[in-house]
Symmetry: C2
Subunit: 320 residues, 2 copies
Amino acid sequence: MTVTKIALVGIGKIARDQHVPALAASDAFELAATVSRSGGLEGVENYGTIEALLEARPDISAISFCTPPQVRYDGARAALAAGRHVMLEKPPGASLSEVHALQAQAAAANLSLYATWHSRHAASVPAARAWLADKTIKSVRIDWKEDVRVWHPGQQWIWQAGGLGIFDPVINALSILTEILPVPVYVTGADLRFPSNCETPISGRIQMGGPDGPLVESDVDFLFEGEPLWRHVVETDAGTLTLNEGGAVLDIDGTTPATNGAEEAKLHGEYDGLYAAFANLLATGSSEVDLRPMTLVADIFTLGRRLEAPEFIDPTLQEN
Amino acid sequence: MTVTKIALVGIGKIARDQHVPALAASDAFELAATVSRSGGLEGVENYGTIEALLEARPDISAISFCTPPQVRYDGARAALAAGRHVMLEKPPGASLSEVHALQAQAAAANLSLYATWHSRHAASVPAARAWLADKTIKSVRIDWKEDVRVWHPGQQWIWQAGGLGIFDPVINALSILTEILPVPVYVTGADLRFPSNCETPISGRIQMGGPDGPLVESDVDFLFEGEPLWRHVVETDAGTLTLNEGGAVLDIDGTTPATNGAEEAKLHGEYDGLYAAFANLLATGSSEVDLRPMTLVADIFTLGRRLEAPEFIDPTLQEN
């Protein structure tokens, strides 16, 4: 198997928790360098800027970005301009229009661009999709509730314009929704609660329609304490499908199919799946950019009603 | 020439000011009926609902929607389901995802769907596009300032979620921008001012990037008194192009090219152009749905910073 040298840009929580272990386990990629201003990884060459990396390492043909979405475009553009294939953490950018620009650039240069949605690689998402394929969907209920203080400690970019707030995790739910439903959905309404000191919402309710009228109701909350609730419940003409734990655990009318992954798959399987898919895109010279989850979020921001929520103070930052 | 019977849905200000005169002047269409709950037009059959029209008039093969964007989807979906071609006022819907759903529906049924951008048919837009085609764009400045009390009296839907506020007219500027520029642009930042009693913004500033960094600055205001300012100024390597009066009047380095339309073209030419384009789509069995202006607006709402503005009271409604 050809091993592709890859660089990782942005060595924060998601890089350390997910990308680095997935790359260590991958036969297709070798983590050859990192880009980080605040220091890289033990034993891996680090550059302070993407420009320095592109200049020094023409042997690295693929670059994976896990920087915050607000600063991803400039790096991705530079990487494509230097002839490198690009993989993007979710969401693939701060705006739909900048991802369209990257798509055009990658296509013109015959390079692979991969906009990843890690939750689509959760253990039970393929089985859910397969089961729903021939069912009539009667309603969908999504609850996406977690404690931002536990899951995103100190990640201030989430609260800055373009950081999406609660919709940074909710876009995972929407990536699963658009993957498993056999019909298209569209946003009809939303109520969004913005803390008085933040530029992005902390909680909300969303309504979506489908081919025959109202179809999806969703309740999302970034201040939910205890065990997170990452759940899709799909009522169909043939029973109720429940996806729990962010796509990891499937239940159909109280029965758990044997397709569920092991604990290990729940932890690292999503990112193993992403890098395997990226290797496949490189091997076939193709791109994958599905903007449906991001389009739904943009629609929610465009037509959502804005309500005030109390000031949010991140206790992690308070301690500093 | 085949004359297509067409129905107009939503008999408000834009229908009376623009659609009805354009249809009266068209050889391609005959205005056969209207749909309006508050009464239609003198001498034209009116129906209270789109369903009643579709049921009673199978001979009407095309439907043009000028209802507010928040209620356009259900009607358009019903019209396509009944086998009719559909033309949509701008913006083509309240959300990108619902227009995607309509596109899929029209394609599956082999029907024409036309998402119109009337400002692209302003007298000098084609000449501006042609002149810019081979230029290097150095910067773009857009001012879009008008008095909502003069141009949208009593149109409360503009202030409701999904009505876009100032971005209802600004989307015209963006439809021109994406038509005339030879390079793609993407939103990098925005400041939006929301009146305390409205769900949509009343003014703002927007920044966009292009292939080589920052490219577009825009200042938009819905409380601008006196003559409206609807202007694009494009600095290029070969001089400065100015489009004034919403695309009607062109100026290149102080010279006004002879391509400018007459006063009459400024008033009704845009909608004449729309219906001519729709007739062409019907004749060729094709659709036209360019969502770039709407994508830029969705991006502006997604990553814009929200600021408070004073309460807005529409004096037209106060008098009632």
